[in-house]
């Protein structure tokens, strides 16, 4: 009894902690914190690992074709699975050509949308219109393809081409007979698909331009348009270029819609009206029916080229967009 009472009266048997020790105890991270942070870090590190694995796997599978064709793969245009000859020039050309056509159509429109949404639209109209444009990005690729086959191509063939050939037929890019599936059809579909991405990122970039810039432009006597054109756009230039490059990245890798409307022919033609082919479309069409190991490997090599191009393009776009809207998740949440 007495012992117990004695201990109860003297709770701390050892020397009392100094103030410094108490501070240290406050500062030490609890074990839970260490575990929490480590688990999150490990999971987050899976992303770089994923990127690395994709790259390694592509290169490993592409190796036989790379060893056989070397750099010639990029410049030869014969794609003959039966003879085992593979050159990806038409694929690379078609990928770039259709994407550039898409950019030519989409960039002015997307910029117009972004300017409209940030500068000119009445406030009540901004969110609804912005949402509608973003919804374009939610439409699945295969639906664009379906629409392309049954609506856009007949429209281009029966109406647009007949009038356009009289006016523009002398241009090399409009030469030849138009049957429907073509680089033009692919470019138009792609432009619709990438427009929301370019518009959304440009919009975020323009929103990040400080209001003081606009006020300064207006204070100097500029009209609202002059302020947008000479002050706001130049201020956000890097970010807008980033947005365009981001759209390019989307267009380069787009598969289904392009496969359905581009005509899928291994040929290099300057005419927009002729069928073409893209890397992604070739993989989609030929991968499961590859006739030989070298055919499969050639498709992997084409895929590796596409991967490399899109990684470079996206990295570049990111750096440019970040320069304007630093750190914020611009673009990735917009769509």
């Amino acid at each position: 009894m007495t012992d117990l009472a004695a201990t109860a009266l003297e709770p701390e048997a050892g020397p009392r902690p100094t103030a410094e020790e108490r501070w240290r105890a406050l500062r030490t991270v609890s074990r839970g914190d260490v575990i929490y942070r480590s688990v999150l870090t490990v999971l987050a590190l899976l992303l770089p690992l994923m990127l690395l694995l994709i790259a390694l796997e592509l290169v490993a599978n592409a190796w036989p074709a790379l060893a056989k064709f070397g750099a010639g793969f990029l410049v030869h245009s014969v794609w003959d699975p039966v003879q085992g000859q593979f050159g990806a020039l038409p694929l690379i050309f078609g990928t770039l050509y259709s994407s550039l056509v898409a950019l030519a159509i989409a960039v002015p429109l997307a910029l117009g949308c972004a300017i409209f949404l940030t500068e000119f639209a009445p406030r009540w109209l901004r969110n609804p219109v912005g949402t509608l444009i973003e919804l374009l990005a939610a439409v699945p690729s295969v639906i664009y393809g379906l629409w392309g086959i049954f609506v856009l191509i007949p429209l281009l063939r029966d109406h647009v081409w007949h009038t356009a050939r009289h006016v523009l037929g002398w241009l090399p890019i409009f030469s030849g007979v138009f049957y429907g599936p073509s680089v033009l059809a692919a470019g138009v579909i792609l432009s619709i698909m990438i427009l929301p991405y370019i518009a959304a990122v440009s919009r975020e970039v323009l929103l990040a331009v400080p209001p003081s810039q606009r006020e300064a432009g207006l204070a100097l006597g500029g009209t609202r348009w002059e302020t947008v054109w000479r002050v706001v756009l130049p201020y956000g230039r890097a970010g807008i270029i980033g947005a365009v490059i981001l759209g390019l990245g989307r267009a380069l890798g787009e598969t289904m819609a392009v496969t359905m409307v581009i005509g899928n022919r291994h040929e290099v033609s300057a005419s927009l009206l002729q069928p073409g082919y893209t890397i992604a479309a070739a993989i989609a069409n030929e991968f499961s029916e590859a006739v030989s190991d070298v055919h499969l490997s050639a498709l992997f090599l084409a895929g590796a080229v596409l991967f490399l191009i899109t990684v470079v393009v996206n990295a570049l776009a990111r750096v440019l967009v970040w320069r304007v809207a630093r750190g914020s998740a611009v673009g990735s949440t917009a769509v």
Partner: protein, 280 residues
């Protein structure tokens, strides 16, 4: 240099042009939706949701196998993609200030831009080739890999919206950091994270390319995870490219169901996020 009137005229013209650009950008959405309703709605009936595809030449049949397949494959994708993606997002928001965070954010954005067909052939080399068969599982993993970078970035943004005062209040009450983060910060952001998941799921549900060499597609009703499985976008693709009018008719109907699914998910998610943001 320029007359006052000319400058004003240019200003109003260009304002009009941007109105026109916005209208022209929305036009395809309206046209596509109208076409889908016009061409697809007539073919949607009870059979469409309850029956699988029928052999060529027979009339009727439906998309039940594809609808169920899409649900299963997307479910698998969530199992794979949501934990990794959301955890990465929380990491980026809570501990992502340093170099590692910067690097992972960058990698997430680059991964986001990797073409889905490339993810598809990657999943093929990892799952289809070693297993020796096409499978719904491989399709789910491929879609899950696409989910990860999208979710990482949306989750990060949602967690960042949580006001710092909440964090400080929890720490002041003596919560360790991990509990503050999980119980206070992440739970506050939970609705936002969930809607981010919905938007991402809506996007991958419409993906076709990664499924071409993984889930492959199937004309029959199947729920076996280690065998080929149908999916809505795959079925629409096959039917759209086929030579038969009956197939085209069903492709439009399938596309209508797909787009209703996708748009409903993303619109719902957007509405929630917007309400949330106005709240915060």
């Amino acid at each position: 240099m320029h007359g006052r009137l000319a400058r004003k005229l240019l200003g109003s013209t260009m304002t009009g042009v941007t109105y026109g650009a916005a209208a022209l950008a929305i036009l395809p959405l309206a046209v596509i939706l109208a076409m889908l309703l016009f061409k697809g709605a007539g073919s949607i009936d009870w059979d469409f949701f309850t029956k699988a595809a029928v052999p060529l030449g027979e009339k009727g049949g439906g998309f039940s196998h594809a609808i169920v397949g899409t649900l299963i494959i997307v479910g698998l994708a969530c199992l794979v993609g949501v934990p990794i993606g959301v955890a990465t997002g929380i990491f980026l928001a809570e501990f992502g200030g340093g170099r590692v965070g910067f690097g992972i954010r960058f990698v997430a954005d680059v991964l986001n831009g990797v073409p889905s067909i490339v993810i598809g052939i990657f999943a093929w080399t990892w799952l289809v080739k070693p297993m020796g068969r096409f499978s719904a599982l491989a399709g789910g993993v491929a879609l899950g890999m696409i989910l990860v970078p999208i979710l990482a970035r949306t989750t990060e943004e949602m967690v960042r919206l949580v006001p710092n005062s909440l964090r400080e209040a929890a720490l002041a009450l003596g919560y360790p950091r991990w509990r503050t983060s999980l119980v206070v910060v992440v739970r506050t952001a939970a609705a936002g994270i969930l809607t981010g998941c919905l938007v991402a799921v809506a996007r991958v549900a419409g993906e076709t390319a990664p499924l071409l060499f993984t889930a492959l597609g199937n004309q029959f009703f199947s729920t076996r995870l280690n065998g080929p499985m149908a999916a809505l976008p795959l079925q629409v693709y096959t039917y759209a490219l086929g030579p038969y009018d009956e197939w085209h008719r069903q492709a439009w109907a399938g596309a209508l169901v797909l787009i209703v699914l996708v748009l409903a998910l993303s619109l719902f998610a957007r509405a929630v996020v917007r309400a949330k943001r106005q709240h915060a």
